[in-house]
Symmetry: C2
Subunit: 256 residues, 2 copies
């Protein structure tokens, strides 16, 4: 079996479920560290800063630092900066997105915007949607951190960022550019941040439609784990299979 | 030319634009009244009560009473009542929708709902969308007053109810039943309220995609006016033409 020199690792469903660490997560990351194999946690969560996410991992005894975290908000801000340095952005989103936009030297404004940027926002309201719709109709580029339509919570599946984004899409008739998994944009940027090549890097995740497709879309080998969203029962029906699959990461550690 | 014994008349773009009366609107309605021809104002506006809308018309010197107004909220509430008397409804919407739901003896609740009902709501928030998504996933029937995606305002096109509704559609993968124009549901109900037959009733409106199609979908003759949304320049390209068209209602009054 091929040895990989770098790993991109999903978080929710792969390292933890909600606030509960998934079996083997800590040991798996320790093994990467002990072998000096570089890794990045790759998450569609746009609401948190890398510092906040790293703190959560540390609290679960999963080895991490902010430099090990790459979010859809970071990928979004880097993508916009590449289009236009210092661009004016109208932002719907939470702390992680605002933080990432500012860190890339972009300006946040609700007037004369170059970009409308949408991430999950639990304080969404009609005024924010209105400003976004009018700006998109006036020619602002329409960017969304990720297309996830639902978020699992204790009381059920709440609307995800893809659902909020659709209000603007439907009103304006303009499709956004999505940045997060399964798009290759976030994967390509993570590889750049990691300084590794496609051929040497393995994408690890539980969600076929985001994690595994993100790896495939960018041309990476993929490892699917069955500790999260996609059940093993779905495996036989997957049109394009991941490169590898394991029940959990203990199985993979034996092969590393 | 055929004489019609009853009229269904659109409001915005046909009787007024914003707060400004459209030429001939008052005289046209006076003529209907003087000839004892029954009429109903048929509007996709779900936010106002018939009393509020009638008052606005009276202030513009357009003859009206609450009994002359039929809103998408009224049609929605009547539709639900027909499915289930006293049904429990989770309501996203403004005064007009809450008012209509209660007037039909339905119950408003955020738990164990039979129906999720969505109308334009300038106080939309994440919690409302969450409750709606979870209820729809739990089996509640999903109803939306109308599918309009944009609302013209002084600063531009703001999101309409169809845009807000899409957040729930996309998150749950469930399509709503739309009630308002261009659906035939609202037209059929208005005919019942008016006590007139399809053959004897004329649908009058400015918006081809809502008013005129609503008439066509229900099998009514239609009169298109060019005082609102659809410009005359679009007329040659309309696949299915309205029965009649006039520049404004003065022209029609000469033929009545």
């Amino acid at each position: 079996m091929k040895r990989y020199n770098a790993y991109l690792i999903d978080l929710d469903g792969t390292m933890y479920r909600g606030n509960e660490r998934i079996e083997a997560a800590g040991e798996f990351v320790d093994k990467l560290a002990s072998k000096d194999i570089p890794y990045l946690f790759l998450t569609n969560n746009s609401s948190k800063t890398p510092e906040q996410i790293s703190e959560k991992l540390e609290q679960m005894d999963i080895k991490s630092s902010p430099e090990h975290v790459f979010t859809s908000s970071m990928a979004t801000a880097k993508y916009i900066r590449k289009q236009k340095e210092g661009a004016r952005c109208f932002v719907i989103g939470e702390e992680g997105l605002h933080h990432a936009i500012r860190r890339e030297g972009l300006r946040i404004s609700d007037q004369d915007c170059d970009f409308v940027v949408v991430g999950i926002d639990h304080d969404i309201n009609y005024e924010k949607l209105s400003i976004a719709c009018i700006a998109v109709r006036n020619g602002a580029s329409f960017i969304s951190t990720n297309s996830d339509v639902a978020i699992p919570t204790e009381r059920g599946l709440e609307p995800g960022n893809g659902a909020l984004t659709s209000a603007i899409t439907v009103s304006t008739g303009t499709d956004p550019i999505f940045i997060g998994k399964p798009e290759e944009i976030i994967t390509e940027q993570a590889l750049t941040a990691l300084g590794s090549s496609k051929a040497d890097t393995l994408m690890v995740g539980d969600n076929y439609h985001t994690d595994i497709l993100a790896g495939m879309n960018a041309g990476l080998d993929t490892l699917m784990v069955f500790t999260g969203v996609t059940p093993f029962a779905d495996y036989p029906d997957l049109a394009k299979k991941p490169t590898y699959y394991v029940k959990n990461l203990y199985e993979w550690m034996e092969k590393m």
